[in-house]
């Protein structure tokens, strides 16, 4: 064999062997989220920490607007090249599990979750008794009000009942100044349905009972009527409350600029409010949802988020993804006994759901803004997680918005909402 041929063969063998050893060990996984760039940077920093002890695993973070998250998961999750990890809303889980887009958690992960999270949160991350995701956050709704506007209107304390709520909304309304008493959000399904559902459960009602819609109850009648009363009295102006794809828009603008007296919103808005209000954030306080005439005490709606793993990803990627998630949610990955995930969540004002994380963040959870949310958590009712839940939410959103804009009466809205919900849930259950 000539020298030239020997050299070529040696070079080819070298090229083939050297990278192959590296490729055999490295695993690339991607994490899809809807978080803001600042929060994505925190997740990337956590991934770098993880890489120190796991140099063979590379984690890439991708972010899309909330409005595109489910579509991205559905359109890309069907293949092995789709995101390996996805942060999802619990309402989406039953259908993603049915369509085999998410992988069941390995036994070790499932045992850890069952031992370290509250049972209700674990069940929201499960379908048919199988755990599919590691829960991370819990969100709950409460009344946010502007103390400065309350003082100007001569209102001493946040409303405890619907009568006080309507009275406060009326006093806070100043048409000449372009100020509304209560902000009733539109153009965002969860943003519309969750406050409505919070008022409904605080009036003793339910959205879904035993898997069937319960929007024909007397409690629901009163809740639809409350919305109509607020709109007709001018205390709530729908045109001041639209949201955009990033769940911001005029609804947020009007509250942070002191043009809206009260809203019903979840705790995760803390970071958006702080950014929008600066030092005036101190004017914002939290109170339980006012109790309706048929209610016994304040209740609100809660929902959870979790991280799931793409069932179509390769075996090595799935294994690496579960290992990364187990580390991310482990009390040793963050500061002072908290998980790295909970540190990221708390930067946005989001309540972590792991029991040890709640303990580790006790001080911050006691802040004036967040303590109001923590206090209502015990009596919060989970948003019903049922097949067809997303379509049900979007349909109810349309009906509530039609009521907000005066296109239908409270009575017609209730009848339409119940009929649509019945058809949607029946079809989804088949």
């Amino acid at each position: 064999m000539s020298f030239a041929w020997t050299s070529k063969l040696a070079l080819a063998a070298g090229l083939a062997i050297l990278p192959a050893t590296a490729w055999a060990q490295s695993v690339n996984i991607s994490y899809l989220t809807h978080w803001s760039p600042e929060t994505v940077a925190l997740l990337e920093a956590a991934a770098k920490d993880y890489a120190k002890t796991n140099p063979d695993v590379s984690v890439t973070v991708r972010a899309v607007p909330f409005g595109d998250l489910l579509t991205t998961l559905r359109s890309q999750g069907g293949g092995s090249d789709g995101p390996t990890i996805g942060g999802i809303y619990d309402l989406w889980l039953p259908e993603l599990a049915r369509d085999k887009l998410v992988a069941p958690a390995p036994d070790a992960v499932a045992s850890e979750v069952k031992a370290s999270w509250p049972a209700g949160i674990t069940s929201a991350a499960s379908v048919g008794g199988t755990l599919y995701g590691i829960p991370n956050e819990i969100d709950v709704y409460a009344l946010n009000y502007n103390k400065a506007l309350f003082k100007q209107a001569g209102i001493a304390a946040p409303p405890k009942t619907w009568d006080e709520f309507k009275d406060a909304a009326k006093k806070l309304t100043n048409k000449e100044a372009g100020q509304q008493g209560f902000g009733m959000i539109n153009s965002w399904a969860a943003g519309v349905v969750h406050p409505f559902a919070s008022l409904l459960v605080s009036n003793g009602g339910e959205l879904v009972k035993d898997g069937k819609p319960a929007l024909d109850s007397p409690q629901a009648t009163q809740t639809f009527q409350l919305y109509e009363d607020l709109i007709k009295s001018g205390a709530s102006v729908p045109a001041m409350a639209t949201a955009d794809a990033n769940t911001t828009g005029p609804f947020l603008d009007n509250f942070v600029s002191g043009k809206t007296g009260m809203i019903i919103m979840a705790n995760w808005w803390e970071s958006a409010l702080k950014t929008g209000m600066g030092s005036k954030f101190a004017d914002i306080a939290t109170a339980p949802i006012p109790v309706g005439p048929s209610g016994d005490k304040p209740h609100s709606i809660s929902y959870s988020w979790m991280t799931v793993v793409n069932a179509n990803a390769g075996a090595a990627e799935q294994k690496a993804a579960w290992d990364f998630l187990a580390w991310l949610n482990n009390p040793k990955s963050g500061k002072n006994g908290a998980s790295a995930m909970s540190d990221i969540l708390m930067s946005m004002g989001i309540l972590p759901s792991r029991l040890s994380d709640i303990d580790a963040h006790k001080d911050k959870l006691g802040s004036e803004f967040l303590s109001g949310y923590v206090s209502v958590l015990t009596d919060a009712k989970p948003f019903p997680v049922v097949p067809g839940g997303q379509e049900f939410s979007e349909s109810l959103q349309q009906t509530i918005e039609a009521l907000q804009y005066g296109q239908v009466s409270a009575k017609d809205a209730q009848a339409t909402a119940q009929a649509d919900a019945t058809a949607i849930l029946e079809r989804a259950a088949k």
Binding site: S187, T242, A245, P250, E391, S395, Q398, E401, A402
Partner: protein, 296 residues
């Protein structure tokens, strides 16, 4: 001889016809086939089950699925009609202005007009959503200067769709102006000189020379404007999410929600087929109208 000619023509056409068949006809036929099936987009085609016209009945029925589809169809029709009605006359008007060689700054105006078409929709959507902002938007501030109260623009079901139409017209009119200029260059100058000698004024020249001789250009512009308008998606997805009260929920956005977000592939395909049929009917009607005018 003819046979050999046919064979060579067939061989030469085969690559293009094959590509068109695979990438255009096959997906279209597949969509039509899926519109008769009960199928989840997350499952293989083999799992689809034939349900006849049930999807069609559903999307035209009284349930929320039917209501939402009909609203989206009407919204798309209004959006398309308003876009075409505004874009075509404006493009001709701007084309006439820019085409006048003796007008100072004509080239600059042509550049400015076309530049809006080159701006990515994401940037347009971001800027226009702020322009339309009810509280801090410059448009409302300008209206305030002349004593007009704040307008809700995107926040009202009455004005949201029209606001999106204006955004579309602003972005597209430059492109159609270029088409109009191309049409104007095809009209011989001698016709205008003859008309002037016959005593025709500027309006008469426009009415009896420019407009009739631009008919083909305008027909092409109308077809392209209709197709572009029917395909509207980005401003809705980026700014309004179809709201408020579904007032900006156009068909492409709705099909994406049903077919992808809810994974109801059969229903989504039935909606897509209806959209395609509507488009075919409108474009054919437009060509038939133009042909009748030509015969007259």
């Amino acid at each position: 001889m003819i046979q050999r000619y046919r064979a060579s023509a067939g061989i030469m056409l085969a690559p293009a016809v094959t590509l068109i068949g695979i990438f255009i006809l096959l997906p279209m036929l597949l969509t039509v086939w899926l519109s008769f099936q009960d199928w989840s987009t997350q499952t293989p085609f083999s799992s689809a089950s034939f349900i006849g016209l049930d999807n069609c009945r559903e999307i035209f029925g009284a349930s929320s699925v039917g209501r939402d589809f009909k609203v989206a169809l009407i919204n798309t029709a209004i959006y398309t009609a308003l876009s075409v009605i505004l874009i075509l006359p404006l493009s001709v008007a701007f084309g006439l202005m820019v085409y006048q060689h003796d007008v100072a700054g004509g080239t600059a105006l042509r550049t400015v007009l076309f530049s809006t078409y080159m701006v990515p929709m994401i940037a347009v959507a971001l800027v226009w959503s702020k322009l339309y902002s009810p509280s801090e938007g410059p448009l409302n501030q300008m209206l305030g200067l002349i004593g007009i109260g704040p307008q809700p623009f995107l926040s009202s079901p009455r004005s949201a769709l029209i606001s999106i139409v204006f955004l579309n017209v602003w972005q597209q009119v430059g492109y159609f102006t270029v088409l109009a200029i191309a049409g104007l260059t095809q009209i011989p100058g001698s016709l205008y000189e003859a008309a002037k000698l016959d005593g025709a004024n500027r309006f008469e020249q426009f009415r009896f020379i420019t407009l009739p001789l631009m008919r083909r250009t305008l027909l092409f512009s109308a077809v392209i404007a209709i197709i572009n308008a029917v395909q509207v998606f980005e401003p809705v997805a980026l700014i309004t999410q179809g709201g408020p009260v579904g007032s900006t929920n156009v068909l492409t956005y709705h099909i994406r929600r049903v077919g992808i977000e809810r994974a109801q592939g059969g229903l989504g395909s039935a909606m897509a087929v209806m959209l395609m049929l509507s488009l075919i009917v409108v474009v054919c009607a437009l060509f038939a109208l133009a042909n009748r005018k030509d015969r007259e």
